[in-house]
């Protein structure tokens, strides 16, 4: 019974996304992209499967990211801005429950969206190869990592949108995503440099920004390489911890916020 306010908000958030046209546009785009990947794969004989997997996984990731950011920045802001929160928060629901529901709602949206795109992707793969191979199972791992990544991006968006405008939240989230995707390089730079302050800074940035580079396994998976189980475990724990910290921080900010 206690979690039912969270569940109600989650379902309503999902319903809002489903009724939002933007989602269909993005899904349509994804379908077109996968279709063109198939076409492209047919032209370049020999490496078509590698290309298809790479392209398919990147498009699932990119479109997921677009949806996460587009919907994420408005998740809380729109309710404050349009004042729909007034009526909701005068019901027996705590602000943290609202926030958690919103977060989970967008995650459900992204999950459903990813399921659809993944189905299209497998279909394209089958169309090209007429069979599945053993190492194809690691595609599931790559998709799982994309979901983790999207969940983290959602948490970042939610955090920023608790105290800044949608545009700024989008910019911050996007910047953080880019920096996070190069986090391995940042660490590498820190190891190479001889300047102590730069070393300290790069170490600091490495630990502060979300480590998205560990989530991209499209290249090895496309080449049929295995993804180590420890990486799956580490990425899972990492996402859980990082997203929890962001969520708790968002809740702390939001619980004290004047809704004026």
């Amino acid at each position: 019974m206690n979690s039912s306010p969270v569940l109600a908000v989650t379902l309503n958030t999902f319903r809002e996304a489903v009724r939002d046209r933007i989602l269909y546009n993005l899904v349509a785009f994804a379908v077109i992209l996968i279709a063109s990947a198939v076409l492209f794969g047919q032209i370049s004989i020999g490496i078509e499967k590698i290309i298809l997997i790479n392209l398919g996984l990147s498009s699932i990731s990119v479109f997921g990211l677009l949806i996460a950011i587009f919907l994420g920045i408005n998740l809380v802001f729109k309710e404050i801005d349009k004042r729909s929160l007034y009526a909701l928060l005068s019901k027996p629901v705590r602000r943290w429950q609202f926030l958690l529901g919103k977060f989970l709602g967008l995650n459900v949206t992204l999950l459903v969206n990813t399921i659809f795109m993944t189905a299209g992707f497998w279909a394209a793969l089958y169309y090209l190869n007429r069979k599945f191979e053993r190492q194809d199972q690691f595609i599931w791992v790559a998709i799982y990592f994309i979901l983790l990544e999207l969940s983290l991006v959602t948490a970042i968006c939610l955090f920023f949108s608790c105290f800044s405008t949608p545009v700024l939240s989008a910019v911050f989230t996007f910047l953080l995503y880019i920096i996070g995707s190069f986090s391995a390089d940042i660490r590498g730079f820190g190891e190479l440099t001889h300047s102590a302050p730069l070393k300290a800074l790069s170490t600091f940035v490495y630990y502060l920004v979300p480590n998205f580079s560990d989530f991209s396994v499209a290249a090895p998976v496309a080449h049929g390489k295995a993804v180590p189980g420890t990486l799956v475990l580490l990425n899972t724990i990492y996402t859980l911890c990082y997203a929890s910290v962001l969520l708790v921080a968002s809740m702390a900010v939001f619980s004290r916020k004047d809704l004026k």
């Binding site: 039912s4 309503n12 004042r83 729909s84 009526a87 005068s90 027996p92 629901v93 004047d258």
Partner: protein, 319 residues
């Protein structure tokens, strides 16, 4: 038992873009609303009514002071089981239909499916949106939004109902229906606390009213008490300017002058002296009218004396 207890409630908003400075929207409001009362909260635009109601629902946090609803601090989920709130110019999820909105809100009240449907149907009928149940809220007019806003406020049959300008945006029929609804809630023993700037609504409905001006409470009490203070007559006279000092002395509030005529208010007990004065000094009486015992006058007078108090008195002293 008191339904709403407000003590020393103060709210500063931070305004200004570059250099933030506090703006006092509500200044030390203390007020008690008894259970079963219909309480009117009056004030001009910007007086601080909405601010007070948002403080009572925990949407914003006070700079100082406290507010309690049913003896508990505001903003607790438990309190909201017994509290309904209609925000000012309400806005709801525009992708939902009226029916879906009520269903959604009902989920927060641990109602079982049967009760949920029953309450939803009752509410849709109550506010006259029965035939618009499947229309998305984005197509709703202002008055319809106000109606669905009222429906969601009383959906869970709360003991206390806070309504922020419940009649605004409604046509005459709608206003009448809201008035009837408030009367009905009173009959059921509910406490209704509503803000308005429309005095006729208050006159017809309220047990007690509070009057707010620029964030400060300027009057609170039973309607009859507030009105009694204003009995007397309004006189318009023509006389030599040498009489003005004595006229001011007899009047119960600052005298105004226009077109050589003096307009003044005189309390019942001063009437004999006033009439005697007019006879001996040859003051020509233009008109003499009993002051209409209406809240409107009380209200405008209070608000005016607070805002242009200095202006009026300086005008008289210049006579």
């Amino acid at each position: 038992m008191t339904a709403i207890q407000i003590s020393g409630l103060t709210k500063d908003y931070q305004i200004g873009f570059w250099r933030k400075r506090p703006w006092r929207a509500l200044d030390g409001l203390s007020l008690e609303v008894e259970r079963g009362e219909v309480f009117g909260f009056l004030g001009h635009n910007g007086a601080g009514k909405t601010t007070t109601l948002k403080l009572l629902t925990g949407l914003i946090f006070p700079t100082a002071g406290t507010a309690k609803v049913l003896g508990k601090p505001v903003g607790q989920p438990e309190t909201f089981r017994h509290l309904g709130y209609l925000p000012e110019n309400p806005y709801f999820y525009d992708y939902l239909t009226a029916q879906e909105l009520l269903d959604y809100f009902a989920h927060f009240f641990q109602m079982d499916a049967g009760l949920r449907v029953r309450r939803r149907e009752e509410m849709l009928k109550l506010v006259g949106l029965d035939s618009f149940r499947d229309m998305p809220l984005r197509k709703f007019s202002k008055g319809m939004l106000q109606r669905i806003g009222i429906a969601q406020a009383v959906l869970h049959d709360p003991e206390i109902v806070l309504l922020d300008e419940p009649m605004s945006g409604l046509d005459p029929m709608g206003r009448r229906e809201v008035r009837d609804l408030i009367v009905q809630m009173k009959a059921e023993g509910k406490t209704v606390f509503f803000s308005t700037h429309i005095l006729s609504d208050v006159e017809a409905l309220c047990d007690r009213v509070a009057i707010l001006n620029r964030g400060k409470l300027v009057g609170v009490g039973r309607l009859s008490e507030l009105l009694r203070q204003r009995s007397g007559v309004e006189a318009v006279v023509e006389c030599a300017s040498s009489c003005s000092a004595e006229l001011q002395h007899l009047a119960s509030k600052p005298v105004t002058v226009s077109g050589g005529q003096y307009r003044l208010e005189i309390q019942e007990e001063n009437m004999p002296r006033f009439l005697a004065f007019c006879q001996t000094e040859g003051v020509r009486l233009v008109s003499l009218n009993p002051i209409r015992a209406s809240l409107e006058d009380y209200f405008t007078e209070l608000s005016q004396s607070a805002s242009d108090g200095e202006h009026v008195s300086s005008g008289v002293s210049a006579l």
